[in-house]
Symmetry: C2
DNA sequence: AGAACATAGTTGATGCTTCAACTATTTCCG
DNA sequence: CGGAAATAGTTGAAGCATCAACTATGTTCT
């Protein structure tokens, strides 16, 4: 067991800023979405991904992947969304194990309303206060992180 | 109700990279900490903040603030940590409403062990793959976000 | 064909988070 | 002083996430 390679002062400062900032940012956005539209972040993310899919529908596994959720979590959340009438699930004709989740018209409208508020919050607490070149740096960094995580799983 | 100011393609790309990346990064780190040391991220964060405080103790409210947790959540999590013997709570002599949470020796050791693994994970998925100047950009950006959020509450 | 294995998705139990309500103490201010 | 309001912290209920177990179907290989 070798000595750990501790972070230097600058690394620690930046890492901490990220951890604290992202925790609080997430909290604000979740609360906002819930208060104004009754949607959890997980639900919102599912609606977004479905809205962008061809014919506004996706297989459960693909939806789980896109929304960065476990299949179990997706099943539960989808059940809730379905009971709200925002999503509907149908059997897949080709693969009898499969299920398509698709956005209902009502779901699309709910998403549209939520997204209009959401983008303002994203601007207020993220986009509009970060220098464009820093935003690019964030994009680069987290794309790398995603790649790194992908290569592990 | 005016038209929303939608994000342009680059902003959307960077924002999405951040959202997806941070969700998956958090997930990996939480899982790692839980598997190797039986600690949730919330528990770990509390131990860290206590370990850095003078005399390794803090008032509950201050600890909640430092660890970015609600007081309610802190109460629950502290109760769990206390039952594991990692933290102890005592009444505050000055303020009879107040409570000090302090790290036990056992808690300090548990944190030390966890931190040694944690720093490696942070390096593997964050520090070591991000260009230093991009890391600085992240530090700058999230410090601004924290300031922005702080000025709201 | 058919046995072994892999994949798709769901379910229920357990545990953590959130929210609102609550007690107790302290501060503020007429 | 003394009542109103603010602050500290806890609690229990309800909601959401995680985990392991499970059913059902599809794929592979001999």
């Amino acid at each position: 067991m070798s000595e750990p390679r501790w972070l230097d002062a600058a690394q620690q400062r930046d890492w901490r800023a990220y951890v604290d900032g992202s925790v609080r940012l997430t909290e604000i956005m979740d609360r906002d979405l819930k208060a104004k539209h009754g949607l959890s972040a997980a639900e919102y993310e599912i609606l977004v991904r479905l809205s962008e899919a061809p014919e506004r529908r996706l297989r459960m596994a693909e939806l789980a992947e896109n929304a960065s959720q476990s299949r179990s979590r997706l099943s539960h959340t989808c059940a809730r969304l379905e009971s709200k009438g925002l999503v509907k699930r149908d059997n897949c004709p080709n693969d009898k194990r499969g299920v398509y989740a698709h956005l209902t018209d009502e779901g699309f409208d709910a998403l549209d309303r939520a997204a209009r508020d959401h983008v303002e919050t994203v601007r207020t607490f993220f986009i509009d206060i970060i220098a464009p070149e820093d935003l690019e740096a964030i994009g680069r960094a987290f794309t790398l992180i995603l790649k790194r995580i992908g290569s592990v799983n």
